[in-house]
Symmetry: C2
Subunit: 146 residues, 2 copies
């Protein structure tokens, strides 16, 4: 595996989360695959069914970002596999967000999401083709892993 490629894939992965943290739809749009690959773009938000197609996926991000006043990710267990022009990244998203469900306030809430991110190399750029995030509901196996 090419070391420079690996660094570029991890940068693309980090930019996906940074765009969400910044609530910046333009940056989020730039992360995802476009053109001939737009219709193959897929995204599973935690607990959601699959959304298909770049337009549908970006619409969901606009909605989610509009409803997320604050979010921060600490990524752990980052693992990257490259096979040709496709890269498979997995990571744990350790999330800090603001829970204002019990009224406006500064309550910080946390959570853990496991993510599968598939990137595609298009004209030298690694673009996100598929994101699958799911809630970790049961910590039992994680303890066993350590």
């Amino acid at each position: 595996m090419n070391r420079a490629d690996l660094a570029r894939i991890e940068e693309a992965n980090a930019e996906f989360y940074a765009a969400f943290e910044a609530g910046d739809l333009d940056r989020m749009s730039a992360v995802w695959a476009d053109g001939a690959h737009a219709s193959a773009v897929g995204c599973v938000h935690p607990g959601w069914p699959l959304l298909r197609g770049r337009e549908e996926v970006l619409r969901s991000w606009a909605l989610i970002m509009a409803n997320t006043p604050y979010i921060q990710f600490v990524l752990t267990d980052l693992h990257t596999e490259v096979h040709g022009d496709q890269a498979l990244v997995t990571c744990s998203e350790n999330i800090i967000t603001v829970d204002d469900s019990s009224g406006p306030g500064e309550m910080l809430a946390g959570g853990s999401v496991v993510a599968t991110n598939v990137f595609l190399r298009v004209e030298g750029e690694w673009r996100l083709l598929h994101h699958h995030g799911s809630p970790v509901l049961n910590q039992m196996e994680e303890d066993e892993d350590e």
Copy 2:
């Protein structure tokens, strides 16, 4: 995309679910990548954190199959993308199983899981490298999709 390849990938995907339905650990073992790729094997069961490595993943399947007296899958929304030797399959797993949590019985229970399956072509055979299944908790977006 090669038509014969596509058929072989969809066969490999179907065999993954058939092995689970049959509760056959040998068939399940044959589905997953081995050899040089064994350490890169990854699996997320619905609600679980990521399990890494062929041995760890197959151990989880042995446990799950031992605790699943009956399960049947109806796959819908099957979508396959091939880029070189890596294939990305997504599908909805519509599950029929037996719920005996309220005592022994014939109660059928259902559920919906969205799956991302990544296959790798190794010596001409498509082998499962990564499975990510997650519960669909909210039907809201599915309705919007239609």
